[in-house]
Amino acid sequence: MIAAPPFSSLAAAARAIKSKAISPIELVQTCLDRVARKDSALHAFITVTAERALADARAAENEISAGGWRGPLHGIPIGLKDVIETKGIPTTAHSRTLQHNRPQHDAAVVERLREAGAVLMGKLSTHEFALGGPSWDLPWPPARNPWNSAHFTGGSSSGPAAAVAAGMVLGAIGSDTSGSVRSPAAFCGITGFKPGYDAIDARGVLPVAPSLDTVGVMAWTVEDCGLLFEAVGRADRAATPSAVIAPGSGIDIKGMRIKVLRHFYAEDAPISTENQAAIECALAVFRELGCTISEGRLPALPEWMACGFIILLSEVYRLHRGRLETSPEQYGAAFRNIVSLGAALSEDDCAVAERKRMELVAAMQILMEDCDLLVTAVQNGAAPRLDKASPWAVFMRPSQAMPFSVTGQPALSLCCGYAEDGLPLGFQVVGRRCGEAALLRAGQAYELATDWHRRRPPCW
């Protein structure tokens, strides 16, 4: 029998630590026990930093006992996607090429977590260099979905999603180039928050495509993501989550104007009917909260995908071209084959995609002139079986997440129900540029009005 986590959310644990109802050591030890018992089936971790975690927890306990509570992340167990550099701790990008890489510096986001007093639990699985899909020819296996370990987590922040959903950490830091925080959050039933393009300092995060890469946060609730973002994000963008101080207080979003991008998921790249129905229910919740809902239209989803993917592929190819030419055998086949396609792109192809990006951003600005939020899908439905998940999926159908990577807008992935087989269903709420605070407020209002975020996987 595995001990249930003492808290089902980061915010609840933060309140208990602040009031000294629980010690950080007790909390961290419970999470380490869960890692020891669960991760052999889920493969969320590449490196467990147990000694470091207990040392961080002891330091937090001593400081808090002496009246030095730093804030909501103090003593909270956090995991990092293994593309985030950690001084002296392996940072592999889930790739044989970096299997023995021990960075000399912490990434900027790790420094911010340390300042906040967070506890580092370890480094978490990804797709190789945060691209492609599940691969079996890498030094570590792909992560599995805690709701059903035969199913895919989504990616590329696969380990962060699995670790949060299984209660092995209370929050995680991921990265999102074209949906890599939002998609696994949806498949694993948690909340994923990709802030605006430059809202979290990306220094020390191994790049995929630098003009699209965004550091993101993952946890069970919007409130938790707000707390993480407040600790690691730009100060002028952070929300002011009140729940640590005043739990249960309502959030008024009456009058917010929402446009639904229904054509993305009902016409351009239709998602499952049960996910479409679940999004309709989510819209009804926002309507009940006093939001005005109208239909929005943008250029079709394949146009966003074509633009974003050509930019992504050209940038990732430039980063890996040298090693692909000298030692291609160091990469897994999926990454090697996909990225090598970048050699087929000309400078003109890339220039055309960049020009298209400006046109698409302009179209988005026009759409956003008279609305506060967008609602659309995030995935095609519930998580597929892991043995049916192809790294080539990105070529087969356009990503519902890509448009907001192209524009750099903040976006939340939220749970809106469950499929017939019990797997979570998600949707996306998107804010204006620099509108992280308003987006988190709307997301938290939705969360307070629903119960989806309270369910836990059978392995909990």
Binding site: K259, T292, I293, S294, E295, G296, R297, L298, P299, A300, P302, E303, M305, A306, C307, F309, I310, L313, L324, E325, T326, P328, E329, A333, R336, N337, I338, S340, L341, A343, A344, L345, S346, D349, V352, A353, K356, E359, L360, A363, I366, L367, D370, C371, S390, W392, F395, M396
Partner: protein
């Protein structure tokens, strides 16, 4: 790369063969069809990028309340 494989399949296939020849590693036979399909999809994406943004009427105007 050729940007319209659907309109000029021969040219695109020749281009794919040239790309394959340029690889510094051998492609697993089981991967070949997936890679070929991805290559042609990439060419379609390039073609799409060369077309003007398809602004639908709803893009330019506020939506209608449901």
């Amino acid at each position: 790369m050729p940007s319209d494989p659907s309109g000029d399949a021969g040219r695109s296939d020749a281009s794919f063969a040239a790309w394959l020849d340029g690889l510094r590693f051998s492609l697993d036979r089981s991967e070949l069809e997936a890679v070929r399909a991805a290559y042609h999809q990439l060419a379609r994406m390039n073609e799409l990028n060369r077309k003007p943004v398809s602004l639908s009427p709803g893009t330019m105007h506020p939506g209608t309340d449901e």
